[in-house]
């Protein structure tokens, strides 16, 4: 029997699924840029970039609502099953994570504006720059994995998240040291802390996105699992 199992009998269904995926990717691209810009703003102290990030946050929110609506439409009209169902669910969840990432990016931008007024803006510069670059890579890695149904890529993102968490912990220790040394820097340090925290959260969301990739491809729900568990599950399902 030579049938093309990649195509639905309903062409419109195909198109609808394709549309939510593309829209999600578009949103992902925007969010990725927002994060990259926010990180750029901290490092360079460029308030115009930060302003721009805050302004575009609204756009991300709009996209979330629109894509979620499309997902609802598919659920209502097509009652998708199996891989289609997983696709819709995954897109819907990924979109929510993307929106949260957008929120975090705008938080970073807001704190950047506060920090930029201050002299000791070099505090933890290194860590922020490094972690920022990591999470931007994570986002694009997770989205790539989603586009390619690539479980290995997704697992790699989860691994990176673990590294980001470790960096966050060490940056935290560094900040505490600063604060103990010089209590005047506490206000500044807390701002930096918020920024670091936001970057770390972005990493977590990127990790959530890659978990959805694993769900999409294998049907296994790996949320709230440890890295080793995820690696195991991904390996057995492959």
């Amino acid at each position: 029997m030579d049938m093309n199992f990649n195509q639905h009998i309903s062409g419109q269904f195909n198109a609808d699924l394709e549309a939510i995926r593309n829209h999600m990717m578009g949103m992902g691209g925007l969010v990725e840029r927002q994060v990259a810009n926010a990180v750029e703003a901290i490092c360079s102290g460029d308030t115009r970039i930060a302003d721009d990030v805050i302004r575009r946050e609204d756009e991300v929110d709009q996209m979330e609502v629109a894509i979620d609506h499309e997902c609802t439409q598919i659920l209502v009209r097509r009652q998708p099953a199996a891989s289609d169902l997983r696709m819709v669910l995954a897109v819907s969840r990924v979109v929510r994570d993307l929106e949260r990432i957008g929120d975090e990016a705008s938080k970073i931008a807001i704190h950047t504006l506060e920090v930029s007024d201050n002299a000791s803006s070099h505090l933890c510069q290194q860590a922020m720059r490094y972690m920022g670059a990591e999470v931007v890579k994570m986002i694009s890695g997770a989205l790539d994995a989603f586009a390619r149904h690539d479980v290995d890529g997704a697992v790699e993102v989860v691994r990176t998240d673990k590294r980001v968490d470790q960096q966050y912990a060490s940056a935290l220790r560094e900040l505490i040291t600063y604060m103990m040394e010089d209590p005047r820097s506490i206000g500044q340090a807390i701002n930096i802390l918020w920024i670091l925290r936001a970057i770390e959260r972005i990493g977590d969301h990127a990790r959530n996105i890659s978990e959805q990739v694993i769900y999409l491809v294998s049907g296994t729900d790996v949320r709230h699992s440890s890295l080793t568990e995820i690696e195991e599950k991904a390996a057995t399902k492959e």
């Binding site: 049938m3 199992f5 639905h8 097509r78 099953a81 199996a82 997983r86 049907g219």
Partner: protein, 267 residues
């Protein structure tokens, strides 16, 4: 020839507490083979849904389970089907008591052109289940109540069964099946001729009946299979492709054919 050579059914076709066990069942219509080497357990008190595209053999397989295929002269069944460890194709096995134990509900509601009462009472009468009019009345009432039809028809038990609505007729047929107190109920697309509300009532009924009966249901509606069954078996061109818990089949089917069918990529 079978489509997939040496196909092994994916998933979990066997049950820990089987009511009916089918092993290597093949069905032939004359020279044409309709079912290829199907092995499947139907567990006690479970609802198993048989799905698959038209002509995949799911109805044929269902009809093997109470030997309804016997009425077709050219039909030949190979392999073993056991009901509580008893081979139902044993030459010593009489189909009459077998069909009393394994009842059947059909695609189109088919009440006898008799009164509602006589429809229900027919089975108990021929099998001699009631020794008095009072006992028979009890059976009729109990069956109608179980089928959720009692309150709707209790005032017109002697009206013709064919005068009921489609959904009521189908519940009447289910009540008629229950009246002989079977162990297994086979349903062959029981809702395909009904509107959504009648369908919902039947599905509700199936859910309630699961407590006391083992049910195998053939359906074209995947949503229905998903709603009523605990396990789902996917047939394709006479082969049993996959059997798995229903939620698993509808979220993460194992076999590509199952996936393609339930996502509407063919069928």
């Amino acid at each position: 020839m079978s489509i997939i050579e040496n196909h092994q059914t994916h998933g979990a076709p066997f049950s820990d507490s089987p009511k009916l066990t089918a092993r290597n069942v093949g069905v032939y219509y004359g020279d044409k083979q309709a079912i290829f080497d199907v092995s499947l357990d139907i567990g006690a008190n479970e609802v198993i849904a048989l799905i698959g595209p038209s002509g995949c053999g799911k109805s044929t397989f269902l009809r093997c389970l109470n030997r309804m295929n016997d009425t077709i002269d050219i039909c030949r069944v190979t392999g073993d089907i056991e009901l509580d460890k008893e081979n139902i194709y044993d030459p010593k096995m009489d189909v009459v008591p077998l069909r009393a134990r394994v009842g059947m509900v059909f695609q189109k509601p088919n009440p006898f052109p008799k009164s509602i009462y006589d429809n229900i009472a027919y089975g108990p009468r021929i099998h001699g289940l009631a020794h008095s009019r009072v006992e028979l009345d009890e059976i009729v009432e109990k069956s109608l109540q179980r089928a959720g039809l009692w309150s709707e028809v209790k005032d017109r038990l002697h009206a013709p069964g064919t005068g009921l609505s489609g959904g009521q007729q189908q519940r009447l047929c289910i009540a008629r099946t229950i009246a002989v107190d079977p162990e297994v109920i086979l349903m062959d697309e029981p809702c395909s001729a009904l509107d959504p509300i009648a369908t919902a009532k039947i599905e509700e009924l199936i859910d309630e009946l699961r407590e006391n009966y083992t049910i195998a249901i053939v359906t074209h509606s995947m949503q229905q299979a998903a709603r009523v069954s605990q396990r789902t078996a996917y047939f394709h061109l006479g082969q049993l492709i996959e059997v798995n818990p229903t939620d698993q089949v509808f979220t993460t089917p194992e076999h590509a054919l199952t996936e393609a069918y339930i996502t509407g990529r063919f069928g």
